[in-house]
């Protein structure tokens, strides 16, 4: 039965190779649909951030009092509005501000995760590889960190330091290393017992060399998956803090800041609250979808 199917498969393949190839790639596309959709959303938001100066129809700060709270052009009954997504309380183009806002979110996501990743990887490697009291110390630190909700810590520190993008990035980075450290520690503990690692040790490889050559390459895929998912998380956290007035400087266009501004106009200008939220949602969804897909491909057993 199986053989028969295989023969038939071969036959039709030679008869209609193009059709089959197409069918296979369509199948491939749908099986990986979530990954493609995620990657697409990620590319859109990252390019909005990188090329904001070229894409945005207006400058982010360009205000016009006559255009105060102009509705989106397609929803404007008077037909006067020229803004695709409407204008905010100072008559600034929402679309342009959303495009510039991507810069903040992407910057916070990437650099924040970079810090958390480096810190968490180092901690996880030390904890898993050397074990003993270093492991105890680092894991107790992790427990404390996990017991203290990030948002409360950020509120305390940011209320004292005042707003600023690099402050947010550093705080996010140094308070979220635990996720990386735990996963890497677990993997290193089992890697350490592998024969090739023991062999490398026996022939006199230094700890540093063993970690670099034999341990680190094996945990890279988990690090990559975690990093993608953490970017999504960090973008949400930054938006929340900026919304509370504790994140990015309110004069810089950011999605959280735009939502904070919109609160006074929700009865009269729904578009000021709606579109920045969609921008956050689609970007975060993109990183989540892509991260989930990466995990299924690279590291299906990883628990996040």
């Amino acid at each position: 039965m199986q053989q028969g199917a295989a023969v038939q498969n071969e036959k039709s393949q030679s008869a209609r190779p193009l059709f089959l190839r197409l069918k296979r790639s369509v199948k491939f596309f749908f099986r990986n649909f979530s990954g493609f959709l995620g990657l697409f959303l990620v590319i859109v938001s990252v390019s909005a951030a990188l090329f904001a100066d070229y894409i945005a129809p207006m400058e982010a700060g360009q205000a016009s009092l006559s255009a105060r709270l102009d509705p989106p052009s397609w929803a404007d009954e008077t037909g006067e509005s020229t803004f695709l997504l409407g204008a905010d309380q100072l008559g600034r183009d929402m679309l342009s501000r959303i495009i510039y806002g991507a810069q903040i979110s992407i910057k916070v996501g990437f650099f924040g995760v970079l810090i958390a990743m480096i810190l968490g990887t180092i901690m996880g490697l030390i904890s898993g590889y050397f074990g003993k009291w270093m492991d105890d110390l680092i894991m107790r630190l992790a427990d404390i960190q996990l017991a203290f909700p990030f948002i409360l810590f950020a509120i305390i520190v940011m209320s004292v330091l005042g707003p600023g993008i690099w402050k947010i990035i550093i705080i996010l980075g140094i308070t979220n290393w635990v996720g990386f450290a735990r996963v890497i520690r677990g993997q290193v503990i089992s890697l350490k017992e592998m024969e090739y690692v023991q062999a490398a040790h026996a022939v006199g490889g230094s700890h540093f060399r063993i970690i670099r050559k034999h341990v680190l390459p094996n945990v890279l895929s988990s690090i990559l998956v975690l990093a993608t998912l953490y970017i999504a998380e960090f973008i949400l956290l930054e938006a929340s803090l900026t919304f509370l007035g504790l994140g990015v400087d309110p004069t810089i266009p950011s999605w959280g800041g735009m939502l904070a501004d919109s609160r006074n106009y929700i009865t009269s200008a729904w578009w000021t609250a709606t579109f920045p939220g969609f921008a956050i949602m689609l970007t975060v969804l993109g990183f989540n979808l892509f991260g989930d897909w990466l995990r299924d491909k690279l590291d299906p057993n990883l628990k996040v």
Binding site: R140, D143, I144, A147, F148, P149, F150, I151, L152, F153, I155, I156, V157, S159, V160, L161, A232, L236, A239, S240, F243, L244, G245, L246, G256, L259, S262, R263, I266, T267, W270, A273, T274, P276, G277, I280, M281, V284, L285, N288, L289, D292
Partner: protein, 310 residues
């Protein structure tokens, strides 16, 4: 068991100690609190001195911390700069609404996530499962305060079904609870789905089915009951982030809880209130986690917590 409880309590004391250290020093190491407090106005020398005296900032740092801890043990969190009221009284007044909101959020999460998760698992691979999974991914992808604003626009401003803000009867609890619980329901639905799938493959499920018990009875009585164990643990762990979430949701809905008190205190640079509010919220979380950990063995007698604590 007793030994385990004692060890956990000692551990908890250490965590609380560490948190008090973090809170205390992160305020003081980032600059002179009094200078920051008066950033906006032009204070007189006497005003600055008075505040320094009140805060005990003229003492050496170690002594200050000692005093702070001594007061903390007796639940004395100092007095508000603004109102002069004891911080502990202020927190006690506002704790009720915050806990109510958090419970509302958990209720919403459970009401949504259990049916979605169970259906996804039972109808695995079908359209129901697909939409269930899309729902849970969407659930964790938007900021809860934005959902709050959207709910206000639709249900308070347009339809006028529920009040947009305030703390007045069960109706005012509906929108904030949904805004708070939605994200949790997304994560929870995923967890319910995966634990149900794991259990549905067990032999005792096939046995129950083969005995001719109705499908839904097997699903609820045999499968779901066991799926409750990881779920409860998870809810306990998530209670913390839920409390963090109330800080923001309270702001959106003008909810008179601890979170809004903290944010107001930040805007007024009322340090004792910020400090006290954050410490109490953090302690509440740790306490809940402790209770959840201890309740494992009641939910599932097979688990012996004393054996290993990880």
């Amino acid at each position: 068991m007793i030994q385990y409880i004692i060890r956990r309590l000692i551990h908890t004391v250490f965590v609380v100690l560490a948190i008090s250290l973090i809170v205390f020093f992160s305020i003081r190491l980032t600059g002179d609190p009094v200078a920051i407090m008066f950033q906006a106005g032009e204070p007189t020398k006497e005003a600055i001195e008075e505040v320094r005296e009140n805060l005990g900032l003229n003492e050496p740092l170690i002594v200050q911390y000692g005093i702070f801890m001594k007061q903390l043990i007796t639940f004395d969190l100092g007095e508000s700069f603004r109102s002069g009221l004891p911080v502990s009284t202020m927190i006690a007044e506002r704790m009720g609404p915050t806990v109510l909101l958090a419970l509302g959020g958990i209720l919403v999460a459970i009401l949504i996530a259990f049916p979605v998760g169970i259906l996804s698992a039972v109808k695995r691979g079908t359209a129901v499962d697909f939409f269930g999974r899309i729902f849970s991914l969407l659930g964790i992808s938007f900021p809860n305060f934005w959902l709050g604003i959207m709910l206000i626009i639709v249900f308070a401003v347009q339809l006028q079904w529920f009040p947009a803000s305030g703390y007045d009867g069960w109706k005012s609890l509906v929108l904030p609870s949904i805004a708070l619980g939605m994200i949790l329901s997304g994560i929870l639905a995923r967890l319910v789905r995966s634990s149900m799938l794991e259990i549905l493959n067990q032999q005792y499920i096939s046995t129950a089915k083969s005995k001719g018990i109705k499908d839904w009875v097997v699903i609820i009585r045999h499968a779901f009951r066991n799926a409750l164990i990881p779920t409860t643990t998870f809810l306990g762990i998530q209670f913390g982030s839920l409390l963090g979430g109330t800080v923001i949701i309270e702001q959106v809905f003008s909810w008179p809880g601890v979170g809004r008190m903290i944010i107001d205190a930040i805007n007024q640079r009322d340090y004792p209130v910020i400090q006290g509010g954050v410490i109490v919220l953090a302690m509440l979380m740790i306490l809940v986690n402790l209770i959840v950990d201890l309740s494992y063995s009641f939910l599932d007698p097979r688990i012996k917590v004393g054996g290993s604590d990880k």
